[in-house]
Every structure is written in C-alpha cells, then in structure tokens.
Symmetry: C2
Subunit: 144 residues, 2 copies
DNA sequence: ATAATAGAAGATAAAAAACTCTTTTTATTT
DNA sequence: AAATAAAAAGAGTTTTTTATCTTCTATTAT
C-alpha cells in the first residue's frame, strides 16, 4: 500500500505527536527505538518531513523534533503525499498512463470506489486524533 | 497498491480472456504488445500463472496461452494472491508484525474498513466479467 | 526434421532501503 | 565571549529487492 519510507514516516509522526509539544522535543534515536524503524533511515525521512514543515526541529543540546498545534492538524494524506507523492490520487491501478474517466481501464470504475474510500480515510484522520487516542493507551507503535 | 508484476499479470489475464478459448491461443509477444508490458518479464509472470493453473498454455507452433471456462472464473484476488501473495489480507498497513485486533496499531480500525472494501472488490470481480465488458469495446488495456 | 513456441535458469540493471560519515547549527558551560 | 557537546542536516555508500533481459531447453504441430 505505502512504501517503507511512508510507513516509517507515519509511525514517527504519530510518536512525535504523542511525546512532544512546543517545549518538549524528542531525538531521532528515541523515535527510531520506539517505532521499530532503522535510525539513520528514519533521520533522513524526518529531514524531508521537516523541510516540508510537517514537523519542527531544533538542533543543539536538548534539540530534536516536535510538533506545534498546527502540525497536529496534518492528515495521514499529507504525510503520504510528502513521502510517496500523489500516486494514489492519480495513478491507474494497472499502471496505464492513458487511463481516465473517458478512456478507462477495465478496473477503473471498480477501483474508483475503493480509492475514494481510502482517500477519505487518510484525509479525515489527522495526527492530533491519534495523539488523543494514544493517551488512552489503546494503541501501540512498536513490535511488543 | 500492487507490484508491477501484478499489474502486468492482471492486464495479461484480461487480454487472454478476451482473445482466447479452448481452441484459440495467444503468444507472449502479442500479449505484451497489447498490454504495454515488457515481453520477457511478462513471459516469466505467465509461467507463474500457468504453473498455478490460472491460465493454460501449450508449446509448439500455434501454441500460446489460453483460458478455459473455469479459468474465466478466477478473480482479481486470485491473481493478486498468486503474484504478490496475501499481504493485503494480513499485513499491517504500518508494517507492524504484532498488529492485530487485540493489539492494534493506531490506524488499524480505520484501515480495516478500507481493506474490507478493497478485498471485496477484488474478490467479486472475475476475469469473465471483464471479457464480457470488453466485448462492448468500453475498456482498454493499452496506452493509446 | 524443422520451426515456432513456452519453460527454466541465470545474468544484468534499476530502484528502494538501509547505513555511514561529515558538516552545520545551536544550547550550554566555562 | 569562547569552547564544548548535542543534535539535525546533508552527502555519499552499501545492501537488498524488484524488474528486466538473455540464453538455453523442452515440446509440439506441420
């Protein structure tokens, strides 16, 4: 469904949301440890997310990544678009360049519904929602 | 969503369904040409599909691939499972090994619905349906 | 026998994922 | 202020996976 990079990005974003605010920050090592992702690869992804302003960062001692109120408003779709691009919005499931409403591939209309469903899910769930849900301890981000 | 192999497999299967029956067969070259897929790679995928009995094959002059009535009953899900495996059925969207109903990742229940929708679509559309639809010339498999 | 075709194995290429090392920035300490 | 150390940023490398191509073998209709 999503690339590994994107999976890592989503997990990292949810973890940062849960752990930080304007004052407290969290470092790459802690993020990686708590999301079961490779540290250096995660660092690279965080750079990208930071460059695209989905997350804030600060260098130096006690530096790290953190989120503002505004950042908590990012949807999963925003993360997916930042990392994997908008392929799931516009690409044909069978990879046909010319596939469109007027010139549809055999599965075009069937998948249209599936995609609509998927897209509405990722657009309607923002990072803030997970922060709240996680506070109840109902969810996990790490393999045991 | 699916791997390239899987995209090619679906297109090839639909093409074969459309063009053949127990008597007429179609060769790899023609399949590749008409589905915009790399010939040799497609040949390899067809070997796999043939080994798994999703499509029939015959060697020799006038040989090629073809489908029986039974083969027309294969669903897209059957093709996906044959080529990409059952990852979309069982893997966590965030790649968490330990994710389950009892131990869910943050997006588990949201994606459950999306997956259900996707799975029902690929299970309820079989190759035969496309054969009929294609006969009306409403769909295409090739970039222009 | 011959030629056309799929099957199989393996080589090569390209892309994605993962890791390493160096540089830059900046808060803290002196 | 200057020095130090912590941390992100960035560049570059290696490894792994996926995709593609090549070559050879087996089968079968003519």
């Amino acid at each position: 469904m999503f690339s590994k990079s994107c999976e890592y990005a989503i997990k990292a974003m949810i973890f940062i949301a849960q752990k930080t605010n304007e004052q407290t920050r969290v470092g790459v090592k802690e993020i990686a440890n708590n999301t079961d992702t490779p540290e250096h690869f995660t660092a690279k992804i965080l750079q990208e997310l930071s460059k695209k302003k989905l997350v804030q960062s600060m260098k130096g001692p006690n530096g790290g990544f953190f989120m503002t109120k505004k950042n908590l408003g990012s949807s999963i779709a925003d993360i997916v678009k930042a990392i994997d691009g908008d392929g799931i919005y516009k690409d044909c499931v069978l990879g046909l360049k010319a596939c469109s409403e007027k010139n549809p591939c055999p599965v075009h209309f069937e998948f249209k519904e599936v995609k609509k469903n998927l897209i509405s899910m990722i657009e309607n769930n923002n990072i803030g929602t997970f922060k709240e849900k996680l506070e109840g301890g109902e969810f996990f981000l790490k393999n045991k």
